[in-house]
Symmetry: C2
Subunit: 339 residues, 2 copies
DNA sequence: TTGTACGCGTTATCAA
DNA sequence: TTGATAACGCGTACAA
């Protein structure tokens, strides 16, 4: 492999001078610089990151440790956000998935150590509370889309489920809906509680009471093996004498079943029932007809800002472990009508 | 950072002996080995990959270069397959996304070179034909879910769209369906042609003619900005006098609209119309009610076998650039009934 | 402005 | 069975 020495030989300078040119250091004649640069081009020299790292003892590498994130439709945008940031800032990304297994997690921390990772981004597929098995290694860590159980003190960055659900609820209220149904997410997800709270609170602030709402559980059970009641819940809700004019679905995926339930009963969407989702999982929200009004989870920004935050932590700029929140944007499509 | 030297000092042996223990080489007394291992544990020593790489000039790292794959719901399982293989075989994975831009692609090859990557897995989101911008670097490469335009000679590994569509068609025929509708994928996708061919051929082999089929285009246009005719096509198809008793949807996502179109016309699924998809994109296929019968794209295995293949190529075991094909598995659910 | 010499953590060679 | 020493490619201190 062509190294800095071969370049130096061809250019007729010392290796240090080549190093200077590569790193854009001052004190090199324009003429020397050009000679070196030509030699680099001619030989096709590419710096060796490993050697560089050994000298500087900084790898300029961040690790992503994820439960299933890179392997699920939902939150891959987090990874994209991180990668884009890394790309723009000259960092390398090493990614590993635990698949949920904690032995795996320990193995991954070892791997990261052996690569002398500068920092770790701990990412989860669903917004939730976790106990990271940091393997007692003192690598700076930022949590994305999750939060450490109280006691740990790691900075985290999360979506604002509350605000997202609040915006959606207001959106329905402003359009005249007064009887609203809500189909709950799996309670083991952090978003489930936040979204439901926001829904209830916003309804209450508007002056409506509990009897204007119909709240049903849509899913429960462990991730990957959950019980699904969405279709039944939606069907039942829509058969009530005083049926809701709008249904908030815990997420977009569940909204598929709400659509099907509504249509099976002969209701038109949105004329007879308005429906909103949550997540803006576009494969679904744009495939449904009419297209689904929903709140977009800020996955991409979560990744982008998480990487940025980690960078500050590594640099020592960020002092106290903060908890940041990124807002959800309401995406208006055509599944809601005004009354 | 604790290095091999400190371990050697504590264990009272030479650094080479420590190296021997770490790499499981022979010619070390059991007693020496134990002393060294204790020292490693006590000091919390972790090998430095960068240093190792410098000496051995093998990085044990594969690079993934992907168009959008890690960032789309569809094919992330390819990445999971690769990562699992890497994990099981002590390889590290570096991943980068082009986002479709070819300047990015060149930049990524540079990055890979600078990390002295052993081999590259070139992955695409959709099954298609590509012109990889290899940057003229002689890194061993395997293509996954895509195929080089004729002229290049890179080994590739692809899903068997033909066989998948064939199985689905037979499945419908065996259950008595004689009038079958087909909603075509975007023609720019390789799968579109393969699946349609298989459909036509299988129907023909069965003795049915072109007038027993209704074929409509579901989507067209550039990826990310395609025109969507699915709903209209399905609606029209089902309003024909001699309407099909079963519809094959180009993929699962499009099947959502077929469901909605059917229900809007008052048809029950599967009693009045049977529907099958393609891909087994579970977020959709399991969310639809009744759940969707479909053919599973072997994404995970594509990744697994692709990594395995690349390993052979790197090792020099694999000689001629082969083109392998992985079969699609029919997943039977409840969206089809027998006539 | 440029060059020399050394060290980073590891593996390889060869001698003991 | 073990160890001394060189070498990998690069950056740094210091000298020229």
């Amino acid at each position: 492999m062509v190294s800095i020495v071969s370049v130096a030989k061809v250019a007729g300078v010392s290796n240090k001078t080549v190093s200077r040119v590569i790193n854009g250091e001052p004190y090199v004649t324009e003429e020397t610089r050009e000679r070196v640069e030509r030699a680099i081009r001619d030989l096709g020299y590419v710096p060796n990151m490993a050697a560089r790292q050994i000298r500087s003892s900084r790898s300029n590498t961040f690790g992503i440790i994820a439960d299933y994130v890179s392997t699920t439709p939902y939150s891959v945008d987090i990874v994209r956000g991180i990668q884009d940031w890394a790309n723009a800032n000259g960092k390398t990304i090493l990614m590993a998935n635990t698949g949920g297994a904690s032995e795996q997690e320990i193995k991954i921390w070892k791997l990261f150590q052996s690569h002398r990772i500068d920092g770790v981004l701990y990412v989860t597929m669903y917004h939730r509370i976790v106990d990271p098995e940091t393997g007692d290694v003192g690598i700076p860590t930022v949590m994305i889309n999750c939060r450490p159980r109280t006691g740990e003190l790691l900075p985290s960055i999360e979506p604002d489920d509350y605000q997202g659900a609040q915006d959606l609820t207001r959106y329905l209220l402003e359009r005249g809906h007064r009887k609203i149904g809500y189909i709950r997410l799996n309670p083991i997800l952090l978003g489930a509680e936040l979204r439901l709270d926001a829904f209830r609170k916003t309804i209450g602030d508007f002056g409506l009471g509990e009897n204007d709402l119909t709240i049903r559980l849509g899913m429960e059970g462990p991730v990957g093996a959950e019980k699904n009641y969405v279709f039944a819940a939606a069907t039942e809700m829509l058969q009530q004498k005083d049926r809701p004019t709008a249904i908030m679905s815990g997420n977009d995926e569940m909204a598929i079943q709400v659509y099907i339930a509504a249509m099976a009963l002969g209701f038109r969407i949105p004329e007879d029932v308005s429906i909103v989702g949550f997540d803006d999982f576009r494969t679904v929200s744009q495939a449904l007809k009419p297209e689904l009004t929903t709140a977009a989870l800020p996955y991409y920004n979560l990744g982008l800002e998480g990487a940025e935050l980690l960078n500050s932590v590594v640099a020592g700029t960020e002092v106290c472990p903060s908890r940041r929140v990124v807002s959800c944007k309401l995406v208006e499509r055509t599944s809601v009508c005004s009354l």
